[in-house]
C-alpha cells in the first residue's frame, strides 16, 4: 500500500515520516519517528495514555490518522523537558511520587500541561476534571492531583 509523506514539527524539530492513510498518529510516532513515550492503553480514546498536544490542544493520538497532522506542531512527553531541564510537572511528579508503574505518566503530564497552560491556578476539582480522560490504575489519583497542584504553585512563582 502506498504511504503518505508527512511533515510536522515534533518536539520543536521539523520531522518527516511515512505512514499509511489508516495508521494512527500514535503508531506513526512510535514506529516511524521512534518516540515511544506515548503509550497505547486502549486504542479507542478512553485511557489517555497516548495523549500528545497537537497545535497546543491535548489529543488522544490513537484517534488521529497520521496524515492529519501534516504541517501541525506536536508535543510529546519526550519534548516536555527543556534542554535537559525537567518541566515543573515532571519534577513534581518525581518528588510527589505521583507515579507507580509509570505507563500512564506521559499522558498525565501532557494533559496536566494543557490544563496549566490555560489555567495556571486550577482548583482541585478543575484538576480532577481536566485529568478525567486519563486513566491510572495504580495511584488512586491522590498523588497525581497533589503533584499538579504543586507544579501549578511553582509555575506561578509561589
Amino acid at each position: 500500500m502506498a504511504r503518505t509523506h508527512i511533515t510536522a514539527v515534533v518536539n520543536g524539530d521539523e520531522t518527516e515520516f511515512l505512514a499509511e492513510d489508516g495508521t494512527s498518529l500514535l503508531n506513526a510516532l512510535r514506529d516511524e519517528v521512534g518516540l515511544t513515550g506515548a503509550k497505547e492503553g486502549c486504542g479507542t480514546g478512553d485511557c489517555g495514555a497516548c495523549s500528545v498536544m497537537i497545535d497546543e490542544k491535548v489529543t488522544t493520538s490513537c484517534l488521529v490518522f497520521a496524515p492529519e497532522v501534516e504541517g501541525a506542531t506536536i508535543l510529546t512527553v519526550e519534548g516536555l523537558a527543556d534542554s535537559g531541564e525537567l518541566h515543573p510537572l515532571q519534577q513534581c511528579f518525581l518528588e510527589g511520587a505521583a507515579l507507580q508503574c509509570g505507563i500512564c505518566t506521559p499522558g498525565f503530564l501532557i494533559a496536566a500541561k494543557a490544563l496549566l497552560d490555560k489555567n495556571p491556578d486550577p482548583t482541585e476539582t478543575e484538576i480532577r476534571y481536566a485529568l478525567a480522560g486519563n486513566l491510572c490504575r495504580c495511584t488512586g489519583y491522590d498523588k497525581i492531583v497533589r503533584a499538579v497542584q504543586e507544579a501549578a504553585r511553582e509555575m506561578r512563582g509561589q
Binding site: D46, G140, D142
Partner: protein, 750 residues
C-alpha cells in the same frame, strides 16, 4: 500519620527520596513491553474464538499463509501435546489456555497466531485463518455450572476434596472446608443472627498496559523473550513448558511493567511469540488490543456467597457459617482456597464452618488479582457484621475490637498469629478526625476490615561495590510499584552510604539468581531480605579487608556510617570508597550474592472508613471522604506504601460501584473497553487519606510485612456499609451501580 512501636533511628529507611526509575518514566524513556523494536522485527496477531464453548473441527491456514508479507502461521498443533506426554494437569491447563487444541472454552480463547511484516498484514492474515467450529452449550456462572445436568467443560473433572470422591464428573473442580467448634451451639448462644446471600461479578485487574511480548529465536533452539510481566523467571518456566524445551534455552528480560495487580503472573503471548519467531526466522512482537485484554486475560472470579453470623448482646461473635462458590473460568484454580482461609481471619470466632467450591465456566481463566479471593468474601462477612452491630446498637469499630484477632489467636485457617497489627488499624481509624466528621444529607459512613497473609517465597539478590564506593543492587523482581526504591533504601541503611550512591536494577534470567513472581506483597519482604543479606555479606567482607589492611583481628573492626573503624580508634577509619579503591590489593572485587526462601511472612490487616453521598433521584453514589489504615510492619518507602494503600482502595471503589463483566446469552463479552468497563477516574474521587500503622514483622530485618494487597479487601463492604448508613438499604450484589441502588430504593418504598 504513622504509629511506630519503636523509633529505631534509621537514616534512610522511612524517607521519601526520588525513585531510581523515576526520571525515565517522566521523560518517556522507560521501555515498557510494547516499546522494543528490533531490526527485521515482524508484527504478530492472535486469532481468537468467537464462541464461548466449541469443538475445533478444523483450522485452514493456507489462505493466510499465501498472503503478502505473512511469514508464519501457527496453531495448537505447532506445540507439543502435553496431555499425550503425561504432563502434570496444571501444566496441561497452562498450555491449553495459551493456545487451544481440541476445544475452545471461552470467547477470546486463542486458536492460532500469525506474523507478518506490518501490523496491517498481520491483522488481515489473522482474519483469513479459517476455523470451523462445532458449537457446544456453555455455562457462564457458578449457578449455571453447578446446576444438575449442566454442560461439562472438562469431561474428566471429578471434584477434589470430597470423600468419597464423586463417581460422576462435574464443573466443580474442588471443595474446601474449614471447621471449628460446634456451629449449632454457637448459634444457640447468639442473641442476634443475620443471614444474607451476596453475589459479585468478575472484575478485571485493569492495568493500563496491555500484555506485550517480543521474541527473537535462534536456529539452535535458544530464544530471547522481552515481556511485561510480574515475574520473568515464571514466564521462562511456563514458556518452556508450553514449548517443550529446557528453561535454560530461554532468556527472559523483564521490560518495565505497566501495571499487573496479579494479572501478569501468567503467560499468554510469550510462547506464541517464540514459536512464530522460530517459524519465521525473525524477531516477532505480539501486543494485545484492549478488547483482547478484557476477553482473554484476568479477570478475578464472579461469586455467590452466603454468610450467617450470630452475636451475643455484648458484641461477641458466637458462630459463623460461610458458603462460597467462585468462578474459575475455563480451567480450575479460582482463589476460593484463599477466600476460605481469609473470610473470617480478622476475628477470633469459636464456632464456624467455611465451605467453598472452585467452579469452572466458559469465561476467561481467572488470574490473581490483589489479595486473590479475599475481597469478595470480606464484602459478604463485613456487611453481615455491620448489620449485627446495628442490630445490637454497637459501634462498628467496637464490635470489631471485641472480636479482633491478636497475637496468639488461633487463626481460622490454622496457625497461631504471631504479633499482628489489626487492633492498631482499628484504633487508628477511631482516633482519626474523619471518624467524627459531620455528615450531610443523604450521606452515610461505613467501616470494614480485611486480612491478607502476604507471601514470602524465593528471592535472590546481588550487590556489587563499584570502584568508587558506590553500589549496584541487582534483583530479579520486576518493579511494579517502586520496589527498586525500597531495595536501595535498605541497602543504603545496611552499607551506610547515601541512597543516591546506590543504583537498584532488575536483571534478566541469566544475570541474577532465581526470583519468584512479584506478587503476594512479597518483594520488599523477601527480595528485600535477600538484599539485606547480601549487604551484610559485603559488610563482613569489608571488615575483613580493613582488618587485613590494619593487620588486626576482624573482631577489632566495626562498620559504622559507611566506614570501617577500629574499636579502640587506633587506626584512621577506612571509608567504603577507600576500601573499594584498594580492592585489588585486599582480595579482588567486592561483591556478594544472597538467595533465600521465605523466613516468615507478616500478616497484613487494613481497616477502612468510607463516607458516601447517595443521590436518591439517580442512584449515583459518590465517595466524599475515605480513610485507610493499614499495618505495613515497617514502611521502608512511605510514599509508595501510601501509593499501594490508595491504589488498592480506589480499585476497590471501582469494584464496589461500577466494574463488572457483562456477557450476552451467547457468552460473548459485551463491554470489553474502558468506555463500557468503567474504572474510576480522577473526577470520581476525593483524596484518599492514609494512616500507615507500623507493627514490625519480627521475621524481617526491618519489620516489613508487605503492603500491596490487603488494601483492596475492605472497600466493597466499607462502601456498602456507608450506603446502608445513608439510605437504609443493604446492597448484597456488586456492583452497587445506580440502577441497582434505584431498584433497591424502589423496593424499599413499596
Amino acid at each position: 500519620m504513622a504509629i511506630t512501636e519503636e523509633n529505631p533511628g534509621y537514616k534512610w529507611v522511612g524517607t521519601r527520596p526520588i525513585r531510581p526509575d523515576g526520571l525515565e518514566k517522566v521523560t518517556g524513556k522507560a521501555q515498557f513491553g510494547a516499546d522494543l523494536m528490533l531490526p527485521g522485527m515482524l508484527f504478530g496477531k492472535v486469532v481468537r474464538s468467537p464462541h464461548a464453548h466449541a469443538r475445533i473441527v478444523s483450522i485452514d491456514t493456507t489462505a493466510a499463509e499465501a498472503m503478502v508479507g505473512v511469514k508464519a502461521v501457527i496453531t495448537g498443533s505447532d506445540f507439543p501435546d502435553l496431555a499425550a506426554n503425561g504432563a502434570h494437569a496444571s501444566d496441561i491447563d497452562v498450555a491449553n489456555n495459551a493456545i487451544a487444541r481440541e476445544k475452545v472454552l471461552y470467547e477470546g480463547h486463542v486458536v492460532a497466531a500469525v506474523a507478518a511484516t506490518t501490523r496491517e498484514q498481520a491483522e488481515a492474515a489473522a482474519k483469513a485463518v479459517e476455523v470451523t467450529y462445532e458449537i457446544l452449550p456453555h455455562v457462564l456462572t457458578v449457578d449455571e455450572a453447578m446446576a444438575e445436568g449442566a454442560p461439562l467443560l472438562h469431561e474428566g473433572m471429578i471434584t477434589k476434596g470430597v470423600d468419597p470422591a464423586p463417581e460422576e464428573p462435574s464443573n466443580v473442580a474442588s471443595k474446601i472446608l474449614h471447621e471449628r467448634g460446634d456451629l449449632e451451639q454457637g448459634f444457640g448462644e447468639a442473641d442476634v443472627v443475620v443471614e444474607r446471600e451476596f453475589t459479585t461479578k468478575p472484575v478485571h485487574q485493569g492495568y493500563i498496559e496491555p500484555h506485550a511480548a517480543v521474541a527473537d529465536a535462534n536456529t539452535d533452539g535458544r530464544a530471547h523473550i522481552w515481556c511485561s510481566s510480574q515475574g520473568h523467571f515464571q514466564m521462562r518456566a511456563y514458556s518452556a513448558t508450553v514449548l517443550g524445551v529446557s528453561p535454560g534455552t530461554l532468556k527472559v528480560t523483564a521490560a518495565e511493567i505497566g501495571g499487573g495487580f496479579g494479572g501478569k503472573t501468567v503467560i499468554y503471548l510469550e510462547p506464541l511469540a517464540v514459536r512464530l519467531s522460530q517459524r519465521a526466522g525473525r524477531p516477532v512482537k505480539l501486543v494485545m488490543d484492549r478488547d483482547e485484554v478484557f476477553r482473554a486475560t484476568g479477570p478475578t472470579s464472579g461469586t455467590r456467597i452466603r454468610v450467617k453470623m450470630g452475636v451475643s448482646n455484648d458484641g461477641k461473635i458466637t458462630a459463623a457459617e460461610v458458603w462460597m462458590a467462585y468462578e474459575a473460568g475455563a480451567y480450575s484454580g479460582s482463589p476460593v482456597g484463599a477466600a476460605g482461609m481469609t473470610a473470617i481471619a480478622c476475628y477470633d470466632i469459636p464456632n464456624f464452618v467455611v465451605e467453598g467450591y472452585d467452579v469452572v465456566c466458559n469465561k476467561p481463566r481467572v488470574a490473581a488479582y490483589r489479595a486473590p479471593g479475599a475481597p469478595m468474601a470480606a464484602f459478604a462477612v463485613e456487611s453481615v457484621l455491620d448489620d449485627l452491630a446495628r442490630d445490637i446498637g454497637m459501634d462498628p469499630i467496637d464490635i470489631r475490637l471485641a472480636n479482633a484477632a491478636v497475637e496468639g489467636t488461633q487463626a481460622s485457617y490454622g496457625p497461631k498469629f504471631p504479633r499482628i497489627g489489626f487492633v492498631e488499624t482499628l484504633e487508628a481509624i477511631k482516633d482519626h478526625p474523619n471518624y467524627t466528621a459531620d455528615l450531610g444529607p443523604n450521606q452515610g459512613r461505613g467501616v470494614a476490615a480485611g486480612f491478607w497473609f502476604n507471601a514470602g517465597m524465593m528471592s535472590s539478590a546481588t550487590v556489587h561495590i563499584n570502584e568508587n564506593g558506590t553500589a549496584t543492587v541487582v534483583t530479579g523482581s520486576p518493579d511494579i510499584g517502586g520496589s527498586r526504591q525500597s531495595m536501595a533504601l535498605m541497602a543504603a541503611e545496611e552499607l551506610g552510604i547515601p541512597y543516591e550512591s546506590i543504583k537498584a536494577v532488575v536483571a534478566d534470567t541469566e544475570t541474577v539468581g532465581f526470583n519468584d513472581v512479584t506478587g503476594g506483597s512479597r518483594v520488599t519482604l523477601a527480595t528485600g531480605a535477600a538484599v539485606v543479606d547480601a549487604c551484610r555479606l559485603i559488610v563482613e567482607d569489608l571488615r575483613a579487608r580493613a582488618a587485613k589492611t590494619w593487620d588486626v583481628e576482624v573482631d577489632q573492626v566495626e562498620w559504622v556510617d559507611g566506614q570501617a573503624q577500629h574499636v579502640d580508634g587506633s587506626q584512621p577509619p577506612l571509608s567504603l570508597s577507600d576500601l573499594a579503591a584498594k580492592s585489588g590489593r585486599t582480595g579482588g572485587p567486592i561483591s556478594a550474592n544472597a538467595s533465600l526462601n521465605s523466613r516468615g511472612v507478616g500478616a497484613g490487616f487494613s481497616t477502612q472508613l468510607c463516607d458516601v453521598e447517595v443521590d436518591p433521584e439517580t442512584g449515583v453514589t459518590r465517595v466524599v471522604r475515605y480513610l485507610t489504615a493499614q499495618d505495613a510492619g515497617r514502611a521502608i518507602s512511605p510514599d509508595y506504601v501510601e501509593g499501594q494503600m490508595q491504589g488498592g482502595v480506589v480499585q476497590g471503589i471501582g469494584w464496589a460501584l461500577n466494574e463488572e463483566y457483562i456477557h450476552d446469552q451467547d457468552g460473548v463479552m459485551e463491554n470489553p473497553s474502558f468506555l463500557d468497563y468503567r474504572i474510576p477516574v480522577a473526577s470520581d474521587l476525593p483524596m484518599i487519606d492514609c494512616a500507615i500503622v507500623e507493627v514490625p514483622n519480627p521475621a524481617h530485618p526491618y519489620g516489613v510485612r508487605g503492603v500491596g494487597e490487603v488494601g483492596i479487601v475492605p472497600p466493597m463492604a466499607a462502601v456498602g456499609n456507608a450506603i446502608n448508613d445513608a439510605i437504609d438499604v443493604r446492597m448484597t450484589d456488586l456492583p452497587m451501580s445506580p440502577v441497582r441502588i434505584l431498584e433497591a430504593l424502589t423496593e424499599q418504598r413499596d
